[in-house]
């Protein structure tokens, strides 16, 4: 009880270093092999560009790529926020009213199981492109939040619920003090999935929209570069999309860790 720190910190630090260094080493190795293969085999850039060419394309096209990145990023974040707020709010509403849950839940499922690629063109018919893209990102991302939050709100310890009843807690108190904190790990799990999915939703909608112009994002850059056989630019845009996804994942993991580290099993490092 007196000293919560691990007694042997050196192995723990080594483990952490390995976790960081090994993936980087693998990446470096792949890049080197890739570069060597492209150069040695004289592979033309329209078949497979070398890492070095992709990087120089990234620098050369940065003005255009960064503008597209911002568009995709904005759509993704807006879709994610709407999904987070909408998913949690809808789950709370379902939890409070069985009538609403029974009436609407099937449609939430239908929205989820219908492939987004098939819905996107239809949305583009009825909505202006930025709105349609946003709705796509939202549709894909909100369901995991809804489903996880619903599960979390139901996973309340029965005895704790009895305790709240014993002290005459109001509905609002039960929700705020018991159900939402109990659901927090589930909500954060849902958000982690939603972060990745909102990026996918944004990209799918951009590809379906397929129109050029000021408001086009990274996915459209990829489609357009594909038409022009500008393979290095395709890779550069893909790299940016991938990095965006990684940043979103780590940001949400960090938030989750900070919120749960004191009490939830998932965030606690087990000493052996």
């Amino acid at each position: 009880m007196t000293d919560p720190r691990p007694k042997n910190e050196a192995p723990a630090r080594l483990d952490r270093a390995l976790r960081l260094l090994l993936p980087i080493a693998v990446l470096a190795l792949v890049i080197v092999v890739w570069e060597v293969v492209v150069r040695a085999g004289n592979i033309p850039p329209y078949v497979l560009p070398s890492p070095q060419l992709i990087f120089s394309t990234l620098v050369a096209d940065w003005a255009m790529l960064s503008a597209a990145l911002l568009v995709t990023l904005a759509t993704t974040l807006e879709g994610f926020l709407l999904a987070a707020v909408g998913g949690v709010a809808l789950a709370v509403l379902f939890n409070q009213s069985r009538v609403i849950e029974y009436s609407l839940y099937p449609y939430a499922v239908i929205l989820q199981v219908t492939p987004i690629v098939a819905i996107a063109p239809l949305l583009l018919v009825y909505l202006p492109q930025p709105a349609a893209v946003l709705v796509c990102a939202w549709i894909v991302a909100f369901f995991p939040v809804l489903a996880n939050t619903t599960l979390g709100l139901r996973s309340v310890d029965r005895n704790l619920a009895d305790l709240f009843r014993l002290y005459g807690a109001t509905r609002w108190q039960v929700l705020r003090e018991l159900k939402l904190p109990a659901a927090l790990p589930y909500i954060l799990g849902g958000l982690k999935i939603a972060g990745g999915l909102s990026l996918i939703g944004a990209v799918v909608a951009e590809i379906a929209a397929g129109s050029a112009g000021a408001g086009s994002g990274l996915a459209f850059v990829i489609v357009e570069a594909g038409y022009r056989l500008n393979i290095p630019r395709m890779f550069a845009a893909l790299l940016l999309l991938s990095l965006t996804g990684i940043v979103i994942f780590f940001a949400l993991s960090l938030v989750s860790h900070l919120l749960l580290r004191r009490w939830h099993e998932s965030a606690i490092v087990q000493e052996v």
């Binding site: 919560p4 005895n159 009843r165 002290y167 108190q173 003090e177 904190p181 009490w263 606690i268």
Partner: protein
Amino acid sequence: MSSPSPAPSTSGAPVVALDRVGKTFANGVVALDRLSLDVRLGELVSLLGPSGCGKSTALRIIAGLSEPTSGRVEWRETESADDAANPRRIGFVFQEPTLMPWATVAANVRLPLKLKGLDADAPARVTAALERVGLAGFAASYPRELSGGMKMRTSIARALVTEPRVLLMDEPFAALDEITRFRLNDDLLALWQSLRKTVVFVTHSVFESVYLSQRIVVMTPRPGRVFSELVIDAPHPRDQRFRTSAEYAGYCRLVSEALAEASAAGEQP
């Protein structure tokens, strides 16, 4: 430890009375059948019975967490105006510590005050409750950082923080190891002596019930009914010497026999 022992159990005024209480669950299981029981002011009474005898159900009915399907639960008012306004002032300790894992020990103990809107002197009351159970230094800890015994102490502090008239305990120490259980038994007795609360203690341990109680109510299983009542007329405070005395052993034999008879009686149609 040398305070005089409380008055014999028979003299207290009833605080709550169960009058021919029956409970049948939706699946047809008859948990309780015409259970009548008086709980007297200031006494420490145990409900003892094999598992499935409905003793926990009886406790939940006293707490108002479950409604009887027949019979009545009557709370008697006492002189105190505070009690008259709200005679059903109870603290409940579950079999599990039942703490909110996301909240500190202090926040867990404070919960009843928060839910009842009693925020005025909450920090002082929480501190006092934690001191009473020997957890003064652990206010900022999280439940997962505590041992099983300390979690249960937190749970008891939470039950005491509202100054309840009656403390209901549902096999609170059943999941603890023997050493911790003995210590918590002693601590509970000390708390009971200093606070003079009425305590209803549910257990399936003969030894625990004899050690703690002034009175033991032995119940039959399926359906739950009072089989017999035994008064443990040994003076409090009780300690390790009582646990190893011939008197204690004698009471244990007596209660064990009653329990065996009760179990046999319950199995007949």
